[in-house]
Amino acid sequence: MPNVTAIALIPLLPLAGFLLLGLFGRKYLKNSSGLIGTVLLLASTILALYTAYEYFFVYGNVGGVYQKFVPLQLTWLEFSPGVSIDMGLIIDPISVMMLVVVTFISLMVHIYSLGYLKGEERFPTYFSYLGLFTFSMLGLVLASNIFQIYIFWELVGVSSFLLIGYYYDKPSAVAACKKAFIVTRFADLGFLIGILILSFSGGTLDFSTLIERLTSPESNAFKTAAASTFLGASALTWGAALVFIGGAGKSAMFPLHIWLPDAMEGPTPVSALIHAATMVVAGVYLVARLFPIFSITVPGVLEIIGWVGAISAIIAAIIACTQTDIKRVLAYSTMSQIGYMMFALGVSNYGGEAGLGYTASMFHLFTHAMFKALLFLGAGAVIHYVHSNDMKDMGGLRKLLPITHITFLIACLAIAGVPPFAGFFSKEEILLAAFQNNMAIYYIALITSGITAFYMFRLYFNIFWNKPHHAHGENKSEGGFVMMLPLILLAISAAAAGFIPFGEFVSSDGRLLESHFHLSFSIAPVALAVVGIFTALWLYKKENDKPAKFASSMGGAYKAAYNKFYIDEVYLFITKKVLFNLIGRPAAWFDKNVVDGLMNLIGTITEYISEGIKKIQSGRVQQYAIYFLGGVIFLAALFIYLLK
């Protein structure tokens, strides 16, 4: 059986770090704060690895099926018998996998931050935020019921907000953190309504019970929910779709992706942790967690998920080709890769061979976390070195930053899907799943993978080759051991993670899934990737005017992509011009004049009355006597003549 203490300690150790550093960090632990946070997280990581080992190799597999355990369930808020919000821990293949990913990446980021943020004024605050984030993310992963996941979902949002706004004296960072918070909050509203609909239909908030009730067509809950319709769709469809909107907001799916590129205002390690490897995949995790419901009960919604994922993937990839801020390129690449995971879920079915997409999605989540964290940390090292985010200021850095160069190259190869790096295997499975289920999505994915290879190597060549680096005369090193160690560890993972037989551990129904390797099938994507890489090589290896010519030949299309297809402008138009004018202003007027006016009126009346009463309290005995006499006469008359 699972070791409850060990599992519970995994999220609680970062929480302890958060409390310790948050409360005492700035005063007493100024110098040791980073070390404390890192050590606590190291313990957490070891426990996570131990849990994973125990689960996958000791007790988890019963009769060829990975079991779902709920080793701890505390009733927190009981609404009525049977309906309560619990705080529990769930242990199943995906949560264990996520535990490992989150703790490992977080540990890497902690170590890296020791070097990256050295000498920062708010060093302890930063580490306490990281602890808070890690705690909430682990809580989200381990949540055993849908409301608990919502609570941690919001906590994750808050810590993301805090970390994006870490450089709070920078106006753009402040704007970005607000934007991220508002956009995800907006999506979370959908999530909350979805939770309410689903839990009302299912009569429970608990995942296992909910899935059980809502997937068996003969259960009462299912019949009732399927019977009640709204705007032509059943309650369950609405619930599932709204839950997905929450997931789409957190995972930056089109059209709710606008916050992610701006979120790059945060410190780079934070981008690596939150906006590449862990938090943004929460949406994918959520869909995976409720996958039986999506797959069996509401296949229509699952198809929407597939299309949203595919569209996000290709749009983000195209935008990424035109951006010059390296972190923004990586942000769009993240969005694109999450699109992959989403549509992999979208094209999957529940159970058996048809559940390949599910496994592929989780596999890609795993490998993506490794190589994307690596990319961000590598980019962080570059930014640390040149003090700029822009490609113009870079170039020719391969000699100056040898370790970063090699690890970055490995990550680029991994994300481009070149064998034998991790991305190849996971992407392969996704494409296979798409090929088997939906040809249109398959072609989109194929094109996207070619574009991915192109823009990643555009990034790579622009940073490390192209024009020679103009040294600023500063004698700088690559960043100490603490910054290089995570890069190396992550590079090893990114190179080797693909060889994990993932289907044996994670599948939609817990049974073993053989992953078949078709050599003939791999030719097309790999060939496209190679074409993309060579195009990038041709355009960006040496400094020349080919890219500029190419861009101008594309004309409006390039400009549109450069401006991110004007999606931000559309949002601004809708919010500023339409919402603010039509709803905001009348509401403000109403608030200012009617609501405030009412309050002011009450205040004024009270003031007048009290002024009057104040005069009554004059201290003049005879006045009091007159009031008294008048009162007595009035009451006497009242009782004698009126109230006999």
């Binding site: 005879q622 007159i626 006499l629 008048g630 007595v632 006469i633």
Partner: protein
């Protein structure tokens, strides 16, 4: 109309007229004297009712005690011959209205009410009867209220002395200042 009736009406008229004068005159010393006459008239009514003891007490305590006390305090606090300040007219009107309403209401109630007399034989309130009753402790006796009243009188006496004691001079100016200060703040 016999002599008794005439005496009653005379006494009642005196009481009312002197009372009214007492509350309206603007010379305080005269007010005290009018009050004295009112009290004597009331004592006369007690005599008329054949409650001689209470009439005697009325004269001794009120006329001989309270009115003399009042006149002394007038001497202490007032320059004689100075007229009393006028009250505001609206206050007078309101007070008059309230008083008239109260009076009308009460009189109306009294005359609409029928009182029942007891038919048991009367006892004469002689001094002996009163004394016996006053010091009886068993049923219907007034020994306890008598004691309580004597305690009250003692307490009042001590209280008067304490209140009227001249305060120490050095505290006085300070107090005055405090009060001024307070007024300004308020």
């Amino acid at each position: 109309m016999n002599g008794s009736t005439i005496i009653f009406y005379l006494l009642a008229a005196m009481a009312l007229v002197f009372a009214a004068l007492s509350v309206t005159t603007r010379q305080i010393f005269r007010a005290a004297i009018y009050l004295l006459f009112t009290l004597i008239s009331i004592a006369g009514i007690y005599f008329w009712l054949q409650y001689e003891f209470i009439a005697a007490v009325q004269i001794v305590v009120y006329v001989g005690g309270i009115v003399v006390l009042i006149i002394f305090s007038i001497f202490l606090t007032q320059q004689t011959g100075e007229k009393l300040p006028k009250q505001k007219t609206d206050r007078k009107i309101f007070a008059g209205l309230a008083v008239f309403a109260g009076f009308a209401l009460t009189i109306l109630q009294i005359y609409q009410h029928t009182f029942f007399e007891t038919d048991e034989s009367a006892i004469t309130p002689t001094v002996q009867n009163i004394g016996t009753k006053m010091l009886t402790v068993d049923n219907g006796g007034y020994a306890l209220p008598f004691e309580v009243i004597s305690m009250l009188l003692l307490a009042a006496m001590i209280g008067c002395i304490v209140i009227a004691l001249r305060e120490k001079k050095n505290i006085e100016p300070q107090r005055q200042e405090d009060r001024e200060e307070h007024k300004r703040i308020v």
